[in-house]
Symmetry: C2
Subunit: 119 residues, 2 copies
């Protein structure tokens, strides 16, 4: 007696497959991982930071300056982004340069922004 059997004449026939490889992909583990990534992107400060990196590679100081924020804060954010492989970095002398890890996440950002707009 779990599923209500008397609710709707036609059982909500939206079973078309406007999904990609999605459907089954929502396994326990996939959800967990995807959720982590989404929540890392779910912060305006980190998003602003990524916005800068879309255009070019930058070192931490430059980022902090552009965002008008202090170094530890920025470094902290970069650490989080690093942990999810959203940004990668290289050291050059005293400086550490960060950039987006791949174009993949640019897409994600675009999608997110798109949804934000048309809403």
């Amino acid at each position: 007696m779990k599923h209500p059997e008397n609710h709707t004449p036609e059982p909500s026939c939206e079973t078309d497959d406007h999904q990609g490889q999605l459907g089954n992909l929502l396994s326990e583990e996939a959800c967990q991982q995807a959720a982590t990534i989404f929540s890392v992107l779910g912060d305006p400060n980190r998003l602003r930071l990524l916005g800068l990196l879309v255009k070019q590679e930058l070192c931490v100081t430059e980022i902090a300056d552009a965002l008008n924020d202090n170094l530890p804060a920025v470094s902290q954010r970069l650490k989080v982004l690093r942990s999810e492989r959203i940004v990668s970095y290289r050291r050059q002398g005293k400086h550490v340069f960060y950039r987006l890890d791949d174009d993949h996440i640019v897409q994600l950002l675009q999608n997110g922004l798109a949804h934000a707009e048309h809403h």
Copy 2:
């Protein structure tokens, strides 16, 4: 004395435009909105729930049952998803049926999962 001027010979020439309408889009407000959406998606429980809705429209009880979770919890999650227009709903008799608001967010989910996987 803000931007370091001695850091790199060529100032990190990644200024190619593999961005869509992105670049400038990262305005204060756009960031804020996008961040909200991302963080709503940044929860494994909500993601699992959305996973169900990708395939079909479902009522709250069905969802709770499928997720093996209690009704108030599910209702609460749906409320959050509703607030960001990620799901829409219709009432039919005693039941309230939820579904994904548009195919747009399916894309978002796909992107998120894709990134989660190849990582």
